[in-house]
């Protein structure tokens, strides 16, 4: 095998079809980047789910001084009443721990989570924050009975399961991920067709050479390798571009978003490296397959 012969053929082929090569590189790059972003959202969501589902509690908000919730019937909860309620919650099956959060603590927490939003903090007073019981469950997935038992009790303004809130957010991320993956699939298909077309053009441009190669007994590998290598090289170039896009999206998208939400844990560079390796592998495999399939049709050996 004479590597420099093959590579000079590949180089000539890529240069002859420069516009097609560029089209292939761009499509592969964007397709693989979308696939990579989908995968990154996926692992980010998994991480957040692990983090959040352990922490989510059932919050039991109590009626405050000027209750507005219909459940309170205009009356705040008494001290004895709230002590009784706490004992009752502790007695429920599935409850691990109950903590009391006073309006002051609630306000401090609120200030912390919305530190970025000055106007909202200024508009909110300590009195606006209700006192609540934070109920930690033994099994976070089994929250239904606890919520039902506490809903509508006197002195209870509202029972919320934080999981519902978190799930809404995850639902949004899921949609983003599906969108990215659908776009990726469409682009990968387009890339495969483009590669097929490039190989076809290439085979037509080089029909003299391949004809003579066949005649003098060049092996199939020798005849086909330059075409497949063209596919591999444009796939690799697309993969490198996709890697750059993914690194940029990690820095400018995931890390920026993470500043506004408590993600719990960050997508690590290890995950990004893994996604890049995977997308690059997929990109090259698709290019090789597309080249081979078209070759079988347009290059009789």
């Amino acid at each position: 095998m004479r590597a420099n012969f093959i590579f000079s053929e590949v180089w000539i082929g890529l240069r002859r079809n420069l516009t097609m090569t560029i089209a292939v590189v761009i499509t592969v790059a964007v397709g693989m980047a979308m696939l990579g972003i989908g995968l990154m959202i996926n692992s980010q969501v998994k991480m957040m789910q692990d983090f959040w589902y352990d922490k989510v509690e059932v919050s039991v908000f109590l009626c405050g001084k000027n209750p507005t919730m219909p459940n309170c019937k205009g009356k705040p909860i008494g001290v004895q009443q709230s002590k009784d309620l706490m004992e009752e919650i502790k007695g429920l099956s599935g409850v691990e721990q109950v903590l009391y959060e006073s309006p002051d603590q609630a306000y401090a927490n609120f200030q912390k989570s919305y530190a970025a939003n000055k106007a909202l903090i200024d508009a909110t007073k300590v009195e606006d924050m209700p006192a609540s019981f934070r109920v930690k469950l033994k099994d976070p997935n089994n929250y239904q009975p606890v919520v039902q038992a506490l809903q509508g009790k006197t002195g209870v303004a509202q029972v919320t399961n934080q999981r519902d809130l978190v799930n809404q957010f995850f639902g949004l991320l899921d949609k983003l991920r599906s969108g990215a993956i659908i776009v990726a699939v469409v682009l990968v298909l387009a890339a495969a067709l483009l590669i097929g077309n490039t190989v076809r053009l290439s085979a037509f441009n080089r029909r003299r050479e391949t004809g003579i190669m066949r005649l003098v007994g060049a092996s199939n590998l020798y005849i086909q390798l330059p075409f497949v290598m063209e596919g591999v090289i444009s796939g690799l170039m697309g993969g490198v571009l996709a890697a750059v896009l993914l690194i940029l999206s990690k820095v400018f998208l995931f890390e920026e978003i993470a500043k506004y939400f408590a993600f719990g844990s960050q997508l690590s560079w290890n995950d990004v490296a893994w996604v890049i390796t995977l997308t690059m592998g997929i990109g090259v495999v698709i290019c090789v397959l597309a080249s081979f399939i078209t070759l079988r049709r347009y290059l009789r050996v």
């Binding site: 095998m1 004479r2 012969f5 003299r208 050479e209 004809g211 003579i212 190669m213 066949r214 005649l215 003098v216 007994g217 060049a218 092996s219 199939n220 020798y222 005849i223």
Partner: protein
Amino acid sequence: MIHFDNVTKVYTNQNRPALDHVSVDVDKGEFVFLVGPSGSGKSTFLRLVLKEERPNSGAIHVAGKDLARLSNFKVPHLRRRIGCVFQDFRLLPNKNVYENVAFALEVIGKPRRFIRKVVPEVIELVGLEGKAHRMPDELSGGEQQRVAMARAFVNRPMILLADEPTGNIDPATSIGIMKVLDRINRTGTTVVMATHDAAIVDSMRKRVVELEDGKIVRDQSRGVYGQAY
């Protein structure tokens, strides 16, 4: 060297066979003219030898190999032992004489040292010494055909197939081409040449196999083109 045993070839969508129960033997070192009108099956014969086509029935042996049993991935190795020359030369226009001949060795993975040694020898054998760096469009038709012959012979094939090699060349130049073919034949290479050129066949006095409508109508050693001429 080439052995056809009752070979029939019918192309799809055609009723009349291109070759009809043809049996012929070509021995090692022979020079055979394949004559007959257009469409008589000469080219089909050559394509069958190269395993570019498969016969519908009958057996073909080339260089001791049964072609029916030769697997597809071994076909290139068969073709390395067969050189081919065509009416239309089939040179690469963007490569010079040396590169055109060297191409045939490069693509079968021969080492560079070997190529540097044998290519000038073959260029000299076909009478193109001093023209190694000319481009094909700077050469006459006869010279281009010499390049094609050099390319066909550079790997020292056992068989040389020539499909109307003088078809595009004037009679005076054709004599030179035939001399080269004769020289190649004298190195022990079997030569099979399909041709229409009566004058050449008559002057060479070699074995003549005449085909008509896919059948062999004459097989004559030291023959001439045809009784009619």
